[in-house]
């Protein structure tokens, strides 16, 4: 089972990172969401895989580790807040810049470097 979980997390990370490297905002946000699934799962399984042992006192003989669960619970909510904020930023960026490229323009990054304008004598 551990190997299965590891494979699942690995695939989620791979898919998330690949989308993270895309050039348009929406796929990047999808990638971040995938990545946060993976990270939440990862932190969660740090408490090891337990079946039928929720951390509710009196419900079973032994209990799963409640700490990673508590951590992940807030992480899920904050991850949502992050996603919402990014999404709105991407909307704003599109409205202001007229496109949804992550750099604000498809042209950036293709040129070797920004042209350096020498400072004028008076301009300090």
């Amino acid at each position: 089972m551990e190997a299965l979980v590891a494979v699942v997390i690995a695939v989620l990370v791979s898919c998330g990172v690949y989308l993270l490297l895309r050039a348009r905002t929406f796929p990047v946000i999808l990638g971040l969401t995938l990545l946060s699934y993976a990270v939440n799962l990862f932190i969660f399984v740090m408490g090891r895989l337990r079946s039928g042992a929720p951390a509710v006192i009196g419900s079973s003989e032994s209990y799963a580790d409640p700490i990673p669960q508590a951590l992940v619970l807030t992480a899920i909510v904050i991850g949502f807040a992050m996603t919402a904020f990014l999404l709105v930023l991407s909307l704003r960026a599109r409205a202001e810049l007229g496109n949804d490229h992550v750099d604000g323009s498809a042209a950036i990054g293709e040129k070797p470097s920004k042209p350096v304008r020498p400072l004028e004598e008076d301009e300090v």
């Binding site: 905002t25 799963a64 704003r92 920004k114």
Partner: protein
């Protein structure tokens, strides 16, 4: 404690002039003088004891781990400097009252001057070397702000930057020197350092320490070759020039030489470095001063020259030379501050400082002329004035040097040479400005007037002081000088006598040669000026600015090499770096699998895992069709929540599934405003690179997970929470108890983040105008009936049920899976359903709630719950609980943590709805006749 007040009073007083500025200039000036005047009174009380060679200390640990203590010492040396700082400071405050025009903020100048005063007093009273460096840097900063006081002027900004760059770099060098010195001695305490002379000078790092510290001192005191910032600092308002750049701050360097004299002096290296730097500066400054046409420029080079003289005297390492140096520090401060004030008055009354345009002012400004003549004579070293006394001591000390064998005569020779130039430039200052014909009628202000009485007063006080010190040295200055010399030299103060008349001797002859030669030189100046004009001169400002620009370009190139503005590239670099670091760290692990055997796999898990993997891959492969990718993504999220169920985390499952709903709705809403298709624009190289990176990251995380899961782990912390959940938190749902009780403070932080994110969304969407297409990407019209009747009716039926469920989930949260977070999300979803099915207006009419306010109220509830425990004498967020038995309902548990959980609930509802309703609002404000978005059509055709 009173020593601390000496420093603190100007600091406390710095804000006053800013507050009183509106009540007029007089009040402003008086309030500015308040702090320094009180400091001066304080220090005067110490003088009788200080003259008896007593010292006063204050010790306060600051960062003991670093050896940095806030310790102060008041000794004779600190005393004469503190007196200079405060007396001249007060005079400058009076002077500035009349100098600064109504256009500029007088309060700001006063505030800066007082802050500078505080820093400068800190330098002279510090008893800890590191503390001294801290104050040292503060003076550099204040000098920067004062030079740049007229920030609209390019000259001022460039001058300020240059001064900061040079003195700041010197400060860093001093810090390095101080750190090494402290390491050698084992303490930064000045007493320890000053008593460890033998240890320091025998140490192998002594030359390094000496050079680093000397660079600090030389940059501050404008010694050759670091002098060039001082002439450019003359862009400062004249009160600041008189105060910082002649009387006090530039003396910080020579003060440091005096302060560390017992520890560092006496070696050959000290002699050669300090003496020759001083000598070069002395001659160079005196020579250049003569040829400056700007009054302040002349004075600036003269200051450089005099600082060189003082430095040179410290280099001699003889006791009498040190006394002469201290004496000249006082004398120079008096006559030079006075002359700067005179220059300021002339500038003020004629509108120019160019000596080629100003003549014959004596008739128009007789008082200023008289005082300036006295001060300039002191600068030239005319008998009966204080400058003569210390200069004579200087001449006689140069005659005693024999370090260079037969070549030792160059010291008196060059000293006389510099003396000749000093006389010439002093005479030029007087003759050019006050005599030499009638004033030009084309002066910016004509005819010039005498300045107001109180503007002349500070200058006159200093001028009189020159005369008084020159005629009655033993009465006025000897005791102070003696106390200062005692602080520098220790017990063995040689016999010396400050006398006006020593008989006919060689130093006197040198003085007369200088006076005669200077006058002669001045009257032969035509040829000399022509010679100087022909000479090759470098404008240091241009050199400096060019170097700065070159540095900026270099920095720009370095930045461009790493970061070219492309997010994709940055992300790729970050991921690569992370992978490399992870690989280095985990390589020694060797075997991935640990000693714990794998648990068996069941079929359902495999099926679910397969669905998740397929869904994730589909998300990626279909990401050019955004809607499809979003649907696939939601499938992944659903399986994640099932995974939480499978592995004993019901709370997580509930949270995940509700967040999932909200997230997907949000993404859909946003997608409405974004292009529906992602263009194919990555090159195949880019795609392969990204695949390699993504694959690498996935494999790394997967292996890491497997490695951890097959190794044992410590359950101590988990056991603690499980054991104490009921007894300590009063709840059986350990996860919820951790959230609202044990780690309530973390949760408090998290809901704050949530609320801030909600407000952030709100702000980003303010005033946003989005164009929306009339049709979808296949050209189909949107439906004409946005709220179909069946779904509207159904949703309204669901609403009370959903609310009931959320209350239920909330109430049972402490003992069963549930709690504020989940209940909040369920409520939010129920409300969102209403928004979707009935429209924003419909909901807003029935539920006029400001969600931004609501999320803040939630946080306040949490805060007040936490603070409630203070009432009972417990720390923030201590919880208590009790059980209540109600008929029919049964046993109900009341815990204060539940009130906290209400705060969580309210925040979650408020923040979530703030985000979603704002986005939904955008859709409401669209003009249905809006033009089709060009982005869509272009992608359509692709």
């Amino acid at each position: 404690m009173e020593i601390l007040l000496i420093i603190a009073l100007p600091l406390l007083g710095a804000g006053l002039p800013l507050l009183t500025e509106r009540f007029g200039r007089n009040i402003c000036a008086i309030s500015a003088a308040l702090g320094p005047a009180l400091s001066l009174i304080l220090i005067l009380q110490y003088i009788p004891a200080l003259l008896q060679h007593q010292m006063f200390f204050l010790h306060q640990p600051w960062v003991p781990q670093l050896g940095l203590d806030f310790s102060l010492r008041l000794d004779g040396l600190g005393m004469i400097f503190a007196l200079m700082i405060l007396v001249i400071g007060l005079l400058v405050i009076l002077y500035a009252r009349y100098y600064i025009s109504n256009k500029d903020s007088l309060g700001r100048l006063y505030a800066l001057l007082q802050l500078f005063m505080m820093a400068m007093l800190g330098i002279v009273l510090a008893d800890n070397l590191l503390l001294l460096v801290v104050f040292w840097e503060l003076t550099s900063l204040m000098s920067f702000l004062l030079i740049g006081y007229w920030s609209h002027s390019t000259e001022a900004r460039k001058g300020a930057r240059m001064a900061l760059a040079i003195t700041g770099a010197g400060g860093l060098s001093l810090l390095a020197g101080a750190l090494i010195l402290g390491q050698i001695v084992g303490s930064y305490n000045l007493d320890m350092i000053l008593n460890s002379s033998a240890l320091i000078q025998s140490h192998g790092l002594y030359p390094v320490v000496l050079i680093l510290i000397l660079i600090g001192a030389f940059t501050k005191s404008a010694q050759f070759p670091f002098y060039f910032w001082l002439p450019h600092a003359m862009a400062a308002p004249t009160p600041a020039s008189a105060y910082l750049h002649s009387a006090t701050m530039v003396k910080a360097g020579v003060f440091l030489l005096a302060r560390l004299y017992p520890a560092l002096s006496g070696s050959d290296l000290w002699f050669y470095l300090v003496t020759f730097t001083g000598l070069t500066t002395l001659v160079f400054g005196a020579y250049n001063a003569l040829f400056k046409h700007d009054l302040k420029g002349l004075l600036a080079y003269s200051t450089i020259s005099h600082l060189g003289l003082i430095t040179m005297l410290f280099g001699f390492s003889s006791d009498l030379a040190t006394i002469a140096a201290l004496f000249h520090i006082i004398n120079h401060a008096t006559f030079k501050a006075s002359l700067f004030m005179a220059a300021g008055i002339i500038d003020h009354e004629t509108g120019t400082r160019d000596m080629r345009r100003i003549f014959g002012l004596a008739r128009f400004m007789p008082v200023t002329a008289t005082v300036a003549m006295v001060s300039a004579s002191a600068m030239a070293g005319v008998p009966l004035l204080n400058g003569f006394l210390s200069k004579e001591m200087f001449f006689s000390e140069t005659l005693k040097l024999d370090q260079l064998g037969n070549f030792s005569y160059i010291f008196p020779l060059l000293a006389t040479f510099a003396g000749i130039f000093a006389v010439a430039y002093s005479y030029r200052f007087i003759h050019d400005v006050f005599f030499n014909g009638e004033p030009n009628k084309d002066l910016p202000i004509y005819p010039p007037h005498e300045a107001p009485l109180y503007m002349i007063l500070p200058m006159a006080v200093l001028g009189l002081l020159c005369l008084a010190l020159g005629t009655m040295p033993n009465l006025l200055v000897s005791p102070l000088l003696h106390a200062a010399a005692y602080a520098v030299l220790g017990t063995d103060i040689p016999r010396y006598h400050l006398a006006i008349w020593h008989g006919f001797n060689l130093p006197l002859l040198m003085s007369f040669v200088a006076l005669g030669g200077g006058l002669l030189l001045y009257y032969q100046r035509k040829g000399l000026f022509a010679f100087y004009e022909r000479g090759y001169r470098v404008d240091q400002k241009v050199v400096f600015e060019k170097r700065i620009q070159r540095l900026v370009r270099l920095a720009q190139r370095c930045t461009d090499a790493v970061e070219n503005g492309s997010l994709q590239r940055s992300v790729a670099v970050i991921i690569t770096a992370t992978l490399v670091m992870a690989a280095i760290e985990f390589w020694p692990l060797g075997n991935i699998l640990g000693e714990i055997p794998l648990t068996p796999i069941d079929g359902i898990s495999v099926i679910m895992a397969s669905i998740m993997i397929v869904a994730a891959v589909v998300t990626v492969s279909s990401h050019h069709n955004r809607y499809a990718a979003l649907l696939a993504l939601s499938a992944v999220g659903l399986v994640v929540s099932l995974a939480f169920v499978r592995f004993s985390a019901p709370d997580l499952a509930l949270t995940q599934i509700s967040v999932e709903v909200v997230t997907i709705i949000l993404l859909m809403l946003a997608l409405f405003f974004l292009p529906q298709l992602t263009p194919y624009e990555s090159s195949w190289r880019r795609a392969i690179r990204d695949m390699v990176l993504a694959g690498g990251a996935g494999i790394a995380v997967g292996l890491f997970t497997l490695a951890i899961l097959t190794r044992p782990y410590d359950t101590g912390l988990a056991d603690f929470f499980i054991a104490n959940s009921v007894s300590g938190g009063g709840g059986t749902n350990v996860v919820n108890v951790i959230l609202v009780d044990f780690r309530g403070f973390d949760t408090f932080g998290e809901i704050t983040v949530l609320a801030i994110a909600g407000l952030g969304v709100f702000l980003v969407l303010q005033g946003l105008e989005l164009s929306v297409p009339r049709t979808d990407r296949h050209g189909r019209q949107w439906t004409r009936d946005p709220y179909p009747i069946i779904i509207t009716v159904l949703s309204r039926m669901f609403f009370p049920l959903a609310l009931m469920v959320s209350v239920f989930i909330f109430l049972r949260g402490h003992n069963q899976p549930g709690g504020g977070f989940i209940a909040g999300l369920i409520t939010a979803i129920a409300l969102i359903l209403q928004y979707i099915c009935s429209g924003t207006d419909w909901v807003r009419q029935r539920l006029p709630v400001d969600y931004g306010r609501m999320s803040v109220v939630g946080i306040l509830v949490a805060v007040f719950t936490g603070m409630g425990s203070w009432l009972f004498g417990y720390p923030f967020l201590t919880t208590t609980f009790t059980h209540l038995h109600l008929p029919l309902v049964g046993d109900i548990e009341l815990a204060s943590a539940m009130v906290f959980d209400i705060g969580v609930y309210v925040t979650v509802v408020g923040a979530t709805l703030l985000m979603l309703s704002q986005l939904g609002n955008l859709a409401q404000t669209i003009d249905p006749q809006a033009e089709t978005d060009p982005d869509f059509t272009s992608e359509e055709s692709r």
